[in-house]
Symmetry: C3
Subunit: 436 residues, 3 copies
Amino acid sequence: MPTHTTNMRMKFPILALTLEVIMIILFGIFAVYDDGKGHGHDPQPGNSSHPEKPKDPMSLYPMFQDVHVMIFIGFGFLMTFLKRYGFSSVGVNLLLAALGLQWGLLTQGFWHLTDGKIKIDIFKIINADFSTATVLISFGAVLGKTSPVQLLIMAVLEIAIFSINEHLVANIFKANDVGASMIIHAFGAYFGLAVARVLYRPALKNGHENDGSVYHSDMFAMIGTVFLWMFWPSFNSAIADPGYTQLMAVVNTYLSLAACVLSAYAISSLVEHKGKLDMVHIQNATLAGGVAVGTCADMEIGPFGAMLIGLVAGIISTLGFKYLTPILASKLGIQDTCGVHNLHGMPGILGGLAGIIAVALGKKDGHATMQAAALASSLGFALIGGAVTGLIMKLPFWAQPPDQNCFDDSIYWEVPEEEEHEESLTAEHYKNKAEV
Amino acid sequence: MPTHTTNMRMKFPILALTLEVIMIILFGIFAVYDDGKGHGHDPQPGNSSHPEKPKDPMSLYPMFQDVHVMIFIGFGFLMTFLKRYGFSSVGVNLLLAALGLQWGLLTQGFWHLTDGKIKIDIFKIINADFSTATVLISFGAVLGKTSPVQLLIMAVLEIAIFSINEHLVANIFKANDVGASMIIHAFGAYFGLAVARVLYRPALKNGHENDGSVYHSDMFAMIGTVFLWMFWPSFNSAIADPGYTQLMAVVNTYLSLAACVLSAYAISSLVEHKGKLDMVHIQNATLAGGVAVGTCADMEIGPFGAMLIGLVAGIISTLGFKYLTPILASKLGIQDTCGVHNLHGMPGILGGLAGIIAVALGKKDGHATMQAAALASSLGFALIGGAVTGLIMKLPFWAQPPDQNCFDDSIYWEVPEEEEHEESLTAEHYKNKAEV
Amino acid sequence: MPTHTTNMRMKFPILALTLEVIMIILFGIFAVYDDGKGHGHDPQPGNSSHPEKPKDPMSLYPMFQDVHVMIFIGFGFLMTFLKRYGFSSVGVNLLLAALGLQWGLLTQGFWHLTDGKIKIDIFKIINADFSTATVLISFGAVLGKTSPVQLLIMAVLEIAIFSINEHLVANIFKANDVGASMIIHAFGAYFGLAVARVLYRPALKNGHENDGSVYHSDMFAMIGTVFLWMFWPSFNSAIADPGYTQLMAVVNTYLSLAACVLSAYAISSLVEHKGKLDMVHIQNATLAGGVAVGTCADMEIGPFGAMLIGLVAGIISTLGFKYLTPILASKLGIQDTCGVHNLHGMPGILGGLAGIIAVALGKKDGHATMQAAALASSLGFALIGGAVTGLIMKLPFWAQPPDQNCFDDSIYWEVPEEEEHEESLTAEHYKNKAEV
């Protein structure tokens, strides 16, 4: 095992500390606390002037904490389904999000300086958390095949590119995307898929022993799934106009997710061996309804419309896992570890299309063409940005894992020796036997 | 293994999709967003006109999210204690709750139409989540011995019956039950026990190899226990009158639960072999204080009264697990997998009785006789409704599991082969050995 | 194995029930619900009269629930990293916190009686939860080497002593410590270390087979880590002055924690074998930034200052785990199971020192000398109180575990026999084989 190539000593500490020092310096120069006169960044034209902005600076705090849980517990544990990659999934998720929220606060803030300063409020830290979601989605596409060093680089580049596209979508096109189906989900998915394509590993074409789950790792992943599922209404409504618009965003997401669960379970059983349910589908496709209703969440699509979107999202997402993912890997050389194309990619596009239709039908003020431009822009920045980022990540000195060590924590983490556990169990076993 | 009888292909997908399509059609006809003129459904006479209804439509949202976590993480993981049934516990919990919240929103809403419409607000989705709790409690009684097909049928019937009883209790009897000790906990428990009785399996009389926990499954269950325990004050106060009444409901529940923990631990150690603690008691009996204080939560019982209720609840619940559950199984043919009789049944009745006494003592406006009628009604609807539902579930074509395959996920789920795990561990083992 | 000495029957039930009965009696005498005229206890001079106290008695409830999750899920699961001690970690954590919050509500309330009564509001139950944190931190220092009986005794004594020191710091010195770096973290850590010193076990000097983690136990511990990390902004801002001061406390903690993650990961990789990451560092040192910024959280230190504190905290905490903990054990006879000295001790002192400097620099009203007195007082009460408590806990009849049974749940818990699991896996294995 050529461990010298995977040894992160020096490379990782130096990169991580350097990035953090740069962050601290930039915050020292640009960041101040909101003093109550700030407006907060806002991807929607509808309330860019925040006419209804609540007086209490803490009013969005519970929403922020729900989003925070989705980012750190939701995304982190969702990826722990791999049998030997749990440390990296939840651990590197924490690392990337911790860096990303600082960087996102800056890159988004630079577009909205007040007297040359970024005034930090709850609204801005919610958007900072949002920006990290793009990286965590892309992380899912390359999970198990990249080093923490490569991923830090991806985080820095992806969030910078995200912020440009978001500014374009929100402030130039003035398009609606309150739940970020386009600017976060579709963007993050296709960015990650582009990276995965560039980092294609032919040797893994026939799978890898550790590229799979065990019983307990699937249980840990369900912690992530359920927390994401529960708090998605907060994700889609956090930055909506306060009051009844926000309530509508909550209700639409709540109902879309509920409908999505039924269709995901139904299709999983329909396509699986002996009508059984497949954990991969349940862990992921049940969330597609939250992604797909994102753009329309604050539009007058009605409970009926929201549920229809959720129903369709659950179906296409499950079918994607079953039939599309294998084809992408074998035909296009896109090895999508977590199937982000099925959870974030296609449902994200579905959300964008639904938004175009909804706006065209007058469910919310806006221009259908601008919605279409926003979707195209998000996909374009994602594919090009991801390809370029992938090429940089492919440089041979980022401590990337050799093929045979993919999907294995022990290459970047001190992993406890399970044997001791086995032994203690045996001991326990005999002790119990003896007591009988 | 007669897998043809357990094969869910067609049966499950068709039922799940049909139910979801019906839901979407009914929502299309009846559901609209609350526009601010709605009153919200309310099981309490005290504030059925919502004199204090807050202006901000989102004010109850944090409470809703706490309840949401109890439903999906709390109930879901609490049932993962079984060694080979974790996928079904958390997965089917998600399925039933996702269907139930849609159906509950409708069945509760039909009693309170505004201009022929159900106006959805946070108050209504909290009650929709509540209605699913009855099904999840009953699920615990039949856990491991029913198919997802049977459980979908149970969910539809139980929530419909629940809504009738709830309407009777809240609007006809005008009884107090803010924390739903009677209409959710006692109802759900006895409904499930009636179903379990009808589905009695003599072959399981002497237990089943998989009807037990392993170390890690008990740890997963504690995730459910602790989240239920923490957020129970929200469950009992979510629909209380805003302000100091709601604060009182929080404080009463907080203190009742704390007292309950001490008594549950004490009794567990007292009755167990060598004074040891039993995880089954800790996972369940520590929550009985939340159930038992439910009806009285918004009454002036005082911290002293709340703690006394919690203390007693912890004692009877633990004793129930130790001595009553085995008798119910052997003498009455009621095989209560999760012991819901001890966590929801007896403590629910205790809560109802405490409510009768508290109202009689003038701790809150109301009529003790109506409180008694509410308890009787809840038990009556539960036992009769559960028996009828059980008979329908007993029809031989719902893909129910044969006795030998009970408590085993692999009959309805694609379960990863643990052997691979074992192998990788061995490999790991030798690699580590080699490095030494 | 001298099980007779570890048999808790009678000792534990009698102590637990007696304590609970005493609590109920004291609550009956002293506790009433807040009627809106209460002020709530407050460790800060700045708002001891609560000029801005919000009208809505529930306004702090979401903050309370975040803190609640940190206490019961955060601390509970953080300690589940030990391979055979998960039941005790999360279970005894629940027991101690449930007793502690009742006792803390009383001991803190006695200093602030209104008409001879303790008026319970959300502010007071937040502080009650806070008081339990000291015990849970100390629990980490003696984890695996104490009996539940000993720990109940520790909880009663530590919270009483904590309340005296807190009163001194907040109301006599009128020092600032909004996030409790000094009065909770440093106090809890040094109290626990003093207890650990008194309970020194020479036989464990060369380690213990069960004093380590396995893969899944490290995953469970990450649940605790991430929930603590996410909700720390609530911990540090819950009792801050409402409005922009509270926002500042949130922002400072959010940024300090983010910076801390990067430095903790960097140093972990720097000092570990082959540049790998160590789970012990990730689980703990990533949180040091929350501890260290506690005292300064509501001061005008600026985002820059907060991040600098987090950066330094992550570094010293990781270095402490790597180099200091072994020395404390070998040279000073302080066996710190969870390394609380690195997570709460040193970062707590760092927080106290930062507070002295910040106040001296006029970042908040106050006297640097009083800040210094607060730190000295917290350390003094902790060391002396811990030593005395340790001596009482050392009395030979508290069912303490013999050396060879330390770090093993099976001595105080009914532990399921893993062998059955192994068997069922083998069965599963062959069944799958057969199906092929």
